[in-house]
């Protein structure tokens, strides 16, 4: 950790002639009368992406952003300002703007900064430089070739790779001084297939907090290519999806977006403190069927949604949200935890230094049960088997949520039969998990492409689940 602090100090503070010892002086200005807490978030981000389309690597871009966000808290109030210049005058000015929020209240005093202990879930290496540009181009071309060789119906292939390195230094008036160096890589493959005048697309991809060589291990890039082609070809044969209420079997992995929407957002501390969540006040109550246990786990090594520390310097946790069907806990940042008399669960996240932190998910998944997935499918007389999804959305107040299938099949008499066109599924968070009647033994996490949006801020997240049977969800197809 102290090594990370040194790295972050060198990257973020030294160029502007600053050192961590100068931060106490900034806090002295920030705190003063009526400020309960304050924090500084220094960030340097470098990212790069390459795109192949029409068989050629046609575009690439490189981006650098850096700055410092200054937040002062007084009761429920937050004053916030940021600067893209990390120099003392800019910090002092931002501190002045941020603390103007407070007019009256307790007389807060900052604690001396001390380096917080934590464990590293990923190596502090720059993934952009983990592969030469020549090798990156070669990978894109190979993936393109794999897609095109897989089937003559493949007409268009778009492959992109992206890498980013985030260096952050966090100082909080509770004495926390923490740093993190966060790599993130990703590959996406999109294929358009055409047959008999009909066109369909399929996509695949993955990544995490590691380097390109790790992303490319074990032929994973080619697996993404084959998966994208397979998905496009399946959709070429899809018939209209059914409309109405029916049993739904969700495949393992990415369909866990169900949990993210149906309960995840509703368990975030801010919505519960404000009592705007459909789950407000339900701690200890039944929210899901027996056997359903859901966690938010930021501690998985190398996962896209994982963080060694959150954006307030708190080490991430594996937080139990639902245990055997009963609501057990919220996801908290420092502000909402303090106001609710709880502890931060290490879920305080922000898109960047230019955004305020709030409670956010990390990797949200359901623990496995004991059923064989085949047995689950066989139990359904007529229903939908959905194995891949696009995005979802939730209204946290009435609990209604949607998620849109991109690959789904009819189940007829216990067998998976025809593929159906994409359809949106809609349900109510408060009751959909009560209708989980079978839980598979095949827990899988997603491949690492998820992005969660809240209040205009995007952060990388993960989801996962085993195969599930839900007794009755509304499927938004067109076939009666």
């Amino acid at each position: 950790m102290s090594n990370l602090i040194a790295v972050a100090e060198r990257q973020l503070l030294s160029p502007g002639g600053l050192a961590t010892r100068d931060l106490d002086g900034v806090f002295a200005r920030l705190m003063g009368p009526s400020i309960d807490a304050a924090d500084l978030y220094f960030q340097h981000s470098r990212s790069e992406s390459w795109v192949l389309e029409d068989g050629i690597v046609k575009d690439g871009s490189h981006s650098i952003e850096q700055g410092v966000g200054v937040r002062a808290l007084s009761g429920e109030k937050a004053g916030f300002a940021y600067s893209d210049e990390i120099v003392l005058p800019a910090l002092v000015e931002a501190a002045g703007s941020a603390r103007a929020i407070a007019q009256a209240g307790a007389n807060g005093v900052g604690k001396p900064l001390a380096i917080a202990a934590s464990r590293a879930l990923y190596a502090p290496v720059d993934p952009i430089d983990s592969l030469s540009n020549e090798a990156k181009i070669a990978v894109l071309r190979e993936v393109d070739a794999t897609c095109r060789a897989a089937d003559p119906r493949v007409k268009q292939v778009i492959v992109s790779i992206a890498a980013a390195l985030d260096t952050v230094l966090i100082a909080h008036s509770d004495g926390t001084l923490a740093a993190d160096v966060r790599p993130l890589v990703r590959m996406n493959v999109q294929v358009i297939a055409e047959a008999n005048g009909r066109r369909e697309s399929g996509s695949s991809g993955g990544g995490g907090r590691y380097t390109f060589p790790e992303l490319l291990e074990n032929g994973r890039a080619h697996a993404f290519a084959r998966e994208a082609v397979r998905a496009a070809l399946v959709n070429l044969d899809a018939v209209p999806a059914p409309a109405g209420n029916m049993p739904v079997v969700l495949g393992p992995g990415w369909p866990g977006v169900l949990l993210h929407e149906a309960i995840g957002h509703g368990f975030e501390g801010d919505f519960n403190r404000k009592e705007t969540s459909a789950f407000a006040g339900m701690l200890g109550e039944r929210v899901a069927a027996d056997g359903v246990t859901v966690v938010d786990d930021g501690t998985l090594a190398g996962r896209r949604g994982s963080l060694s520390i959150d954006d307030e310097g708190t080490p991430t946790n594996c937080t139990v949200l639902v245990e055997n069907g009963v609501m057990k806990g919220y996801m908290q940042d420092k502000l909402n935890a303090r106001l609710m008399g709880m502890r931060s669960t290490g879920n305080g996240r922000r898109e960047s230094f230019a955004h305020l932190p709030m409670p956010r998910m990390t990797n949200t998944y359901m623990l496995p049960g004991e059923r064989d997935p085949q047995e689950i499918i066989a139990s359904v007389k007529r229903g939908l088997y959905a194995v891949n999804f696009g995005g979802g959305q939730v209204d946290i107040t009435n609990g209604k949520f949607t998620f849109s299938a991109s690959e789904a099949y009819l189940i007829e008499d216990g067998k998976v039969t025809r593929p159906v066109k994409g359809a949106t599924l809609i349900g109510s968070g408060a009751d959909v998990l009560k209708r989980v009647s079978m839980i598979g033994n095949d827990l899988r996490l997603d491949e690492g492409v998820g992005v969660c949006g809240k209040d205009g801020q995007s952060v990388p997240v993960g989801v996962g689940q085993p195969t599930l049977r839900i007794d009755g969800m509304t499927v938004g197809g067109t076939a009666a």
Partner: protein, 451 residues
């Protein structure tokens, strides 16, 4: 530059400075061997104040700066951007772009815009109206909006808060064809989200207004009341049984329906053949009475601009004439890929106007008779490649032209090709808060999935 509230408006000098930076960047790119280059430099300034339950909750000052550069070595391309306007960072950024262009491959469609299309006149579009509001005044205004909503009905017992957002942006664009252009515009928003509760449970809804000039805002009280009306109206929402019926989109929902059409006729979807509307120019898409035009120079328009993101002059033109697709939406790259000319839409559309009909919403409801009024859509279930459409919806069941009861937890599904071809009517109730200007839209029939 740290606050939008300044005694003296320095935007002219700031624009000059940004133009100098953009011109310096393209010169630097040439010096580093690029055959062509373009650059944009921008500053966005803002103040955002949030209040909740009568108290200030957040006060945020924002200032975002950026320089982006694209270089071409022949037909090879590289891009880079930075948020740091320091000359040393800018030079590194240009070098990053050049380094990338050394590895990308020749693409014959790459390059700057056709010089003959570049803007040479710059009409005054009346977009610059800085709002001189202090955080204290913004807090009072937010409280006023929220109070009006909370006082509307005793069932409004909680709030997600009101916000007052002030924004100003300055941009300069330059390229190696000698084009340099600057633009400045302000954009301000008032919004509030309220929560109502009764024995049926909780519901949340919101309302907002968005303008270029603060004096154009609807009154604070009317925004609060409208949010409250919408929230209370949702209480006791039911589901519907699965059925097929007419569907009426309110204007703010109709906007997304028009938005899918705009995406489907945009160059990127077309040259990839990833749109259900490929090869549709000159063919009917909508009923013969429908007209959709692009009007880039509406004074104070949300999408108004004299030139697109490549410097190409924007002009009024038909997009749909008598129901027939008149043209695509193209920048230089997608135009070259399709063997066509740029339509001045690099970076997207400007103001899109769906010609309004004569009915207000009440008359549109009567015209529908019995069917579903959609006030909110959820989720992303739209495939542009096939036109397949399936989204979560909430709104009201309508019987004989009158609202009967609120509905939720249903989906509406169809195919955009049929939905566009079977538009029954466009209302007169145009929503002015966006660059896509449309009234409510009535569709003949969609599949509703519910209980």
């Amino acid at each position: 530059m740290n606050a939008i509230v300044t005694d003296k408006d320095t935007s002219s000098a700031d624009l000059d400075r940004l133009a100098t930076i953009a011109e310096d960047v393209v010169r630097l790119a040439r010096a580093k061997g690029a055959s062509e280059a373009d650059a944009a430099a921008s500053i966005d300034l803002g103040l955002a104040v949030g209040v909740r339950l009568g108290e200030v909750e957040t006060v945020e000052r924002t200032r975002d700066r950026g320089v982006s550069v694209t270089v071409y070595f022949g037909r090879r391309k590289g891009s880079a951007n930075t948020a740091d306007l320091d000359p040393k960072s800018i030079e590194q950024t240009v070098e990053h772009a050049c380094a990338i262009a050394r590895h990308t491959e020749e693409d014959p469609a790459n390059g700057l815009a056709d010089p003959a299309l570049l803007a040479t006149t710059f009409p005054e579009l009346d977009l610059w109206h800085p709002w001189d509001i202090t955080p204290e005044e913004a807090i009072r205004l937010g409280v006023e909006i929220e109070d009006a909503g909370r006082a509307y009905d005793p069932r409004i017992d909680n709030s997600d808060g009101a916000s007052v957002q002030v924004g100003a942006s300055l941009t300069a664009y330059a390229n190696t064809l000698g084009f340099v252009g600057t633009e400045r515009g302000t954009s301000h928003t008032l919004s509030v989200a309220l929560i109502a509760e009764n024995e049926s449970g909780m519901q949340r809804d919101y309302w907002y207004d968005s303008v270029r000039r603060a004096s154009d805002f609807a009154s604070a009280a009317s925004i609060g009341r409208k949010a409250a009306e919408r929230t209370v109206a949702r209480l006791g929402a039911r589901r519907l049984s699965t059925r097929a019926c007419p569907v009426l989109f309110v204007p703010e929902v109709a906007r997304s329906f028009v938005g899918h059409f705009l995406s489907a006729v945009s160059g990127g979807s077309l040259y990839r053949r990833a749109s259900f509307l490929v090869d549709h120019v000159g063919k009917p898409v909508f009923p013969a009475w429908m007209q959709i035009v692009e009007r880039p120079h509406i004074p104070r328009g949300h999408g108004s601009t004299a030139f697109d993101s490549e410097g190409v002059a924007t002009r009024d033109s038909d997009l749909v004439r008598d129901g027939v697709l008149a043209r695509y939406i193209l920048g230089s790259y997608s135009a070259r890929k399709l063997g066509l000319k740029s339509t001045g839409n690099a970076g997207g559309v400007q103001n899109i106007v769906v010609q309004p009909g004569t009915d207000d919403l009440a008359a549109m409801l009567r015209r529908m008779g019995t069917g579903l009024l959609v006030t909110e859509l959820m989720g992303q279930g739209v495939s542009l490649i096939t036109g397949d459409y399936s989204r979560g919806a909430s709104g009201f069941w309508v019987e004989n032209g009158e609202i009967a009861y609120p509905v939720e937890e249903i989906t509406i599904a169809g195919n955009l090709r049929d939905m566009y071809a079977n538009v029954v009517a466009v209302g007169h109730d145009v929503d002015p808060r966006s660059h896509v200007l449309t009234g409510s839209i009535l569709l003949e029939r969609m599949t509703i999935a519910g209980e």
